[in-house]
């Protein structure tokens, strides 16, 4: 029991004293996650919404592909990105392996199908009068799509936060393509994994508590936005 209590006390001390390693990992985690999901959202959300609203001929196959992407194991995504960025990979010349850019790329691949699929679901269930009204008033398809995105804004925000929750807790990609390099590419989950392998429970618990706080905050906001979307 004292092991656990002592661990919490030490973890709390590390957080309140502003441990550079822990807070650097926090910065890397938040930065990589926000950049990855924002870039993914810029493409995946309009794409998913377009699939849901205008139902193109190959739409079902594309939605299926998004769903397969959602179920992709993160370690496999990490392996694919590794293959891309390794020296023999087709992007090897950019020398991006074991950098934050590689982590962002992996998390982009992770977030894209999730955001696309959730945007598709929200758009497909949207009242068809939204696009019909916009089109009949003279909007172009692009304007009607933007209007529809405005109508499903709470659902899109909830999808964004769900992607945040998934990416911020991601370990497989961070280690495989980030390399877990101290004060460079080490994220909160990879710090936990690293400290645990060394037997430093308290040092593993500190980033764990920060991660838990971030995940809880994302969950609370997601829950509130989901309720607003249902109204």
């Amino acid at each position: 029991m004292s092991f656990l209590a002592d661990g919490f006390v030490e973890a709390w001390r590390l957080i309140t004293s502003g441990s550079p390693e822990v807070f650097h990992a926090l910065g890397v985690s938040v930065l990589c996650t926000l950049l990855a999901i924002t870039l993914a959202a810029l493409i995946a959300v309009p794409y998913g919404a377009w699939l849901g609203l205008f139902r193109p001929r190959t739409g079902r196959a594309q939605v299926f592909a998004l769903r397969v992407g959602m179920a992709f194991p993160t370690v496999v995504i990490g392996l694919l990105v590794y293959a891309m960025f390794s020296r023999r990979g087709f992007l090897g010349s950019f020398d991006l392996l074991y950098t934050r850019a590689a982590i962002i790329t992996g998390e982009f691949v992770l977030a894209f199908p999730l955001l696309g699929s959730l945007a598709h679901g929200a758009a497909a269930s949207l009242d068809r009068r939204v696009t019909e009204t916009a089109l009949t008033l003279g909007a172009t398809r692009g304007q009607a799509l933007r209007r529809a995105l405005g109508e499903i804004r709470p659902a899109i925000a909830a999808a964004y936060l769900a992607a945040f929750g998934r990416c911020i807790t991601e370990l497989g990609i961070a280690i495989t393509v980030g390399g877990n390099l101290r004060m460079r590419t080490r994220t909160l989950p990879s710090t936990i994994q690293w400290e645990l392998t060394r037997g430093n429970f308290a040092a593993a618990l500190a980033p764990g508590l920060l991660l838990l706080g971030l995940a809880c905050a994302a969950a609370v906001v997601t829950h509130r936005l989901s309720r607003e979307a249902q109204r």
Binding site: R129, T133, A134, T136, L137, G138, A139, R147
Partner: protein
């Protein structure tokens, strides 16, 4: 002139609407009369170019934006009543400043800053009518436009309909033939799953 020939719409294997022949001449006022489930709303959406017919041909449809449909149950976008009318003006590349005037024409100026989500059925219809009329389309398709309107609202709509110079198609279960150039009846064939259209 808009012309429909042997047009039918099939949804999930069920024929929602069938029209053997219908002409709507430019500037004409056409009433489409029919009971519940006769396919009035489907016909209006076909006329608006929003859904393609499963069979048959349609000619003479103006482009979307020149032919405006007001749904039986109009949908107001998120935002205020003013935002809704301003949106229509914006996509038509008209000055948004005119939005309040259009709302006033339907007795809805006092609703301008209210969120669309809190408006009553009659208020939603007034705002939706202002939004449809502000486009000043060539063809106006109104699906049961008087439903939920109170006396003032109905008077305002009558006034705007009188002033409207384009082609007008109104669908409703009950219509007075004297107010239209033509009234067509959508009737359900008793022994068939489909419906057909007949001119009165």
């Amino acid at each position: 002139m808009i012309e429909l020939r042997d047009v039918s719409v099939v949804r999930d294997g069920v024929e929602a609407m069938r029209v053997a022949h219908l002409e709507v001449k430019s500037g004409q006022r056409v009433g489409i009369r029919g009971g519940n489930g006769t396919g009035k709303s489907t016909l209006m959406r076909v006329l608006a170019g929003l859904i393609p017919p499963t069979e048959g041909t349609i000619t003479g449809l103006p482009r979307l934006g020149r032919i405006v449909l007001l749904h039986q149950h109009p949908y107001l976008f998120r935002g205020t009543a003013h935002d809704n009318v301003a949106y229509a003006l914006r996509v038509q590349k008209k000055p948004e400043a005119g939005a309040r005037d259009w709302l006033a024409r339907f007795g809805a100026a006092h609703l301008a800053d209210r969120p669309a989500a809190v408006l009553s059925g009659g208020e939603v219809r007034r705002v939706a009518l202002a939004r449809a009329f502000c486009v000043e389309p060539d063809v106006l398709l109104l699906d049961e436009p008087f439903a939920a309107l109170d006396e003032d609202g109905a008077e305002a709509l009558e006034r705007e309909l009188t002033a409207f110079s384009g082609t007008l198609v109104i669908a409703a279960p009950e219509l007075s033939a004297t107010e239209f150039d033509r009234v067509v009846d959508l009737i359900r064939e008793p022994d068939a799953r489909g419906r057909h259209i007949d001119t009165v």
